[in-house]
């Protein structure tokens, strides 16, 4: 059962900002279909009368008091950054707005 079109995959790729070649698009189309088919099996489970669940634990209102905890230093924060300048993360220009 094929549910994903090539356009769907191209759209998802652009949302994820992943550049895919035509060949890759075709391949992903097939691979994602396999995954969707697998998930479709799960969808056949009888869920009549079962509440949708987003969390496995029946917990609510897990909060913390509004108390300051130590932050990282700028040096620590930037230690994993491929590029940094003036204590800021340097990122490629992206066409959009602030």
């Amino acid at each position: 059962m094929s549910t994903l079109s090539r356009d769907d995959v191209a759209h998802l790729a652009s949302l994820a900002r992943i550049a895919l070649s035509d060949a890759e698009l075709d391949r992903m189309c097939g691979e994602l279909d396999v995954i969707l088919d697998a998930v479709a099996t799960v969808q056949q489970a009888p869920t009549e009368g079962v509440e949708p669940m987003s969390h496995p634990m029946p917990l609510t209102n897990v909060t913390r008091p509004d108390e300051v905890k130590p932050s990282l230093t700028a040096g620590e924060a930037l230690s994993g950054a491929p590029e940094a300048e003036s204590d800021r993360f340097s990122v490629p220009r992206i066409l959009d707005e602030d």
Partner: protein, 524 residues
């Protein structure tokens, strides 16, 4: 998300606009306002990083707000309480159960590649806020929802001429702001606003600002971005002269545009007005409005095309698996309700009574955005009339002329209270007080200091004043004769000369009295 920004202005030139009169004669505007308020919590929404404004870049960050692998967020209890308080103050229902959701998008202002927000389960929904208008009438703004989310980091674009992204070579990001608690307050479509649309938009944001300040949940500084407004505007054909009529409400809504980041009360009014006139020009030319975001340019007072909505809105929300649902029990909600301060409208009535202002005076003060400032000034020792005179008069006039908010004039209630005290004690007359205010506004210090530094004081010493009067009288025998002959108005010229001789530091009433006593005691 679409890569290429699309421009709809023909050949890049400025957009056509209709006159405002023509716009409201032909069309019925409908507004929708989205206001983001940064909460004044000590820590971020999902981690314990501090939230102070103006810290060095990337010094208020941790694995959670940097989106590092394995980091787990935990909700700030005060953030939730503030959200509930805001919901209650906006007459909303409070959800019995709601979740956070991931709003997915790829943009470097959020290192996680998603913003933690709420989607179809906001914590507060279905409320209203009454807004007082300049003519004394009230408009009830319908509130759709108020939901919890987090702020984004701050990008600086390097290499572009304007600091904007176009032409930038790369961007530098500071994540201090990423994760600061935000409440987004969204109105339902505001209909029936008619030609008062810009005024109502401004009044709503102003009323919301006052409310949030009264709640103590945010410092609501628009100039620092802790209160930000996006204005949705659409036009539809006008039916009859009553924008609130049933026939008018049956006309389908027009296509809207969303003008982003309108960050002062005055700009809210201007941006709404501009978009209305721009829409009218497009529609009148038989063209259609493109649903898109627009960017507001404070300096030129126009909007320009941003990105097209449809693509950008594919955020693929899903419930945030790292955070458990929030289920405020009713006892908690009622406890918060009981803690709410007096509602602003009720408070205004009480203050008006205490201060002894007339309806008209109070309305002017409210319209000038001066209620809190006057309250603080009176608390600092000023007379209510004195506080009103400065904030509602001179300062309001200057704020208006400069296009600034009254609270951003750089003068404090304490300074105005001191200035009023100097006038009340007779140390300064009116024109001197204005000069002192000039000094305060120019950053010369508190009024007493400015008055001393500029040598401003009403001459209280009768000896010096009498001498000045006598000198002037001796130099003007003709005028003295006129007064003696009954032409009392001739005294005006003499008073003027004495005031000049004393560099304006004498009390004019006293000078008049001295002249009359000397020249014609029986007529004084």
């Amino acid at each position: 998300m679409s890569d290429a920004p699309v421009s709809y202005a023909p050949s890049g030139g400025p957009d056509e606009v209709c006159s405002y009169e023509d716009t409201v004669a032909a069309y019925d505007p409908v507004l929708g306002l989205e206001v983001h308020v940064e909460l004044g919590t000590k820590t971020k929404m999902f981690c314990g990083c501090p939230t102070e404004f103006g810290a060095d870049p990337n010094t208020q960050v941790c694995p959670v707000c940097l989106g590092l692998p394995g980091a787990l967020p935990v909700v700030n209890e005060t953030g939730v309480e503030s959200a509930i308080k805001i919901g209650l103050a906006l007459n909303c229902e409070i959800a019995t159960w709601c979740r956070f959701a991931r709003k997915n998008y790829f943009y470097p202002d959020m290192p996680k590649n998603f913003q933690t927000s709420q989607y179809d389960e906001p914590i507060a929904f279905n409320g209203w806020l009454d807004v007082l208008l300049e003519d004394g009438s009230t408009y009830r703004v319908p509130i759709e929802r108020a939901h919890m989310e987090e702020d984004t980091g701050k990008s600086t674009h390097v290499g572009g001429a304007t600091g904007r992204i176009h032409g930038a070579d790369y961007s530098l990001v500071d994540y201090n702001r990423a994760g600061i608690p935000l409440i987004e307050i969204v109105t339902k479509p505001m209909t029936g606003v008619g030609d008062r649309a810009p005024e109502i938009a401004k009044a709503y944001v102003g009323a919301l600002r006052d409310l949030l300040r009264a709640l103590g949940v945010s410092d609501v500084k628009m100039e620092q971005g802790s209160l930000r407004c996006d204005a949705n505007v659409s036009l539809r054909a006008k039916v009859g002269d009553d924008p609130g009529s049933e026939a008018q409400q049956e006309v389908p809504l027009g296509t809207r545009t969303e003008t982003k980041n309108v960050n002062s009360l005055r700009s809210v009014e201007r941006a709404v007005r501009y978009e209305m006139t721009r829409h009218a020009a497009v529609l009148s030319a038989g063209q259609t409005i493109v649903q898109e975001t627009r960017h507001w340019h404070e300096d030129t007072g126009v909007t320009t095309s941003g990105r097209v909505k449809s693509d950008a809105e594919d955020y693929r929300y899903f419930p945030e698996p790292d955070l458990v649902p929030i289920a405020p029990d009713r006892e908690w909600v009622e406890r918060l309700r009981a803690s709410l301060p007096e509602p602003p409208a009720q408070r205004r009535r009480r203050l008006q009574e205490t201060w002894g202002f007339s309806d008209l005076e109070m309305r002017d003060v409210v319209n000038a955005g001066a209620v809190e400032l006057i309250e603080a000034t009176v608390a600092a020792g000023a007379t209510p009339a004195g506080a009103r005179k400065w904030w509602g008069g001179e300062l309001a006039r200057r704020a208006n002329a400069d296009g600034r908010d009254l609270g951003d004039m750089g003068v404090t209630p304490a300074a105005i209270a001191q200035l009023d005290g100097l006038v009340q004690s007779g140390r300064l007359n009116d024109s001197m007080a204005r000069q002192v205010l000039d000094g305060v506004l120019a950053g010369e210090g508190m009024p007493l200091h400015v008055a001393d530094a500029r040598g401003l004081a009403v001459v209280q010493d009768d000896g010096a004043l009498t001498e000045a009067v006598n000198t002037v009288l001796a130099a003007n025998p003709d005028l003295v004769d006129k007064i003696r002959a009954g032409k009392v108005q001739a005294a005006g010229a003499l008073i003027g000369q004495v005031m000049k001789a004393t560099k304006g530091q004498a009390d004019a009433a006293k000078v008049r009295q001295l002249i009359m006593d000397t020249v014609a005691p029986e007529q004084g």
